[in-house]
Amino acid sequence: MDPPNGAAPPAGKDSAKLRIVDTDVHEYFNGYAALLPYLAEPWRPLIAEWGFNKIDVGFPYVSGSVKRTYESRLEWRPEKGELGSDLGVMRRNLFDEWGVEIAIINNLQVPVSFMNGSYEFGVALAAAYNDQVIENWLDPEPRLRGSIIVSLDDPAAAAREIDRVGGHPQMIQVALPTVVAHELGDPRFRPIWEAIVRNELVLGLHHGYGTKTVFGFPRQHIEWKALAPSHVMMSQLSSLIFNGVFDAYPALRVVAMEAGFTWLPYFMSRLDQQYISFRDQVPWVKRKPSDHLRSNVVLTTQPMEFLTARQFMNLVDDIGGDQMLVFSSDYPHYDSDVLSEALPNGIPDDTRARVMGLNALAAYPRLARLASAAPG
């Protein structure tokens, strides 16, 4: 097939034959002042006059290598503004050079669900972001899909916001950070899950700088980086399963982003084992946890660990197939995976095709139309 944008075929590993959906791309706006035109009163003066420009989540790490995580390759940096803030650069990198068919963006600058107060302001910030991303990213670029930001601390407002902007045809998911202050299986969040299902969206979970380990923020950044995303993802998926969320909402799909996936065999086995012994504690759960995971959860591939084809396929066998994995680059971050190099050499072509694009086309309800259509 020709690349959807008519540009040169993307390089490497027969990727010209693949349909590529990038499920974890980060776009940036240039500082909170960029939200002002979209922010409701009485909140504007907080930014315009009082200089509010960041939700402080307490991220404590300071080192050269931590600072360098905010850099990236030169060709991805815009001439001005923040990394990832230039739609033209993103178009060139993802669509023209890599041949991505669909890129799903989610933003990390407005982590309102990490706030510890002023929740009404958080709700307003989220709405301002959602309107901003529609106007500046989704409307100008039909190959992008967007993520709705909501505040977990006000589930009713979150549901209203999902209904308000969920009608935009390019909105595809509700993105939440993997918080530690709330268990997502708590019944008070059900209005959010109902709104997601009602609008045919998915729930995307991605760590933020406020995601913590069982130690809180551990002493070293490397400990946080290695463990916080996966540990909290496991905990939140366990919470959703054992509190009956997938039984109540079988159509709810979760996309677990940037938390790794090599832990899945352990996680499935561990949860199933406990369920066989203690099903009577949670009799509202009608299926094995691993079955819920296989039918309701997909995981993004980045950051890929060093895996041989044999290791990768053994893992696929252990989790019951390759349908749970969806390609992601994490563009434009320093640790993004290179599209043509992300998956190990030597895996079967059909597995590569599913992971690089077909699984995502099947997993996101709003991509279902594309799944059966000719690419582009």
Partner: protein
């Protein structure tokens, strides 16, 4: 082959008893409704003796927090790791495809409990 085991009145509802038939340990039990069931007396997990376990009503729920007992359903719970087996089928309610013990036909004939295997 039919094996005549013991008088019907020897087991009250809720009781368990181990019997050995042709060298195979089998647990006989009597449900709350008075009917009898028989399962292989060895948990398929790590060999726990089910006759040392508990016969319990099967817990069910229609929603989180809404516990109720499933009418007519009972489980035999292994004393080792609390695996539960539906006494009507020998299947684990949690993982019926993978976790199960053999079940046997039990009848009461002229006041005697009989087992077929």
């Amino acid at each position: 082959m039919k094996f005549e085991l013991f008088p019907e009145g020897d087991l009250r509802p809720g009781d368990l008893r181990e019997v050995v038939v042709e060298g195979v340990s089998i647990v006989l039990l009597r449900k709350a409704d008075g009917s009898f069931r028989a399962l292989r007396n060895r948990c398929s997990h790590q060999g726990g003796k089910l006759s040392d376990g508990r016969l319990e009503p099967m817990l069910d729920a229609s929603a989180p927090g809404q516990f109720h007992y499933a009418p007519g359903r009972e489980v035999l719970r292994c004393p080792l790791h609390q695996f539960e087996f539906d006494v009507d089928s020998g299947l684990s309610p949690a993982d019926p495809q993978r976790v199960r013990v053999a079940s046997y036909e039990v009848t009461v004939e002229q006041g005697t409990v009989c087992l077929r295997r």
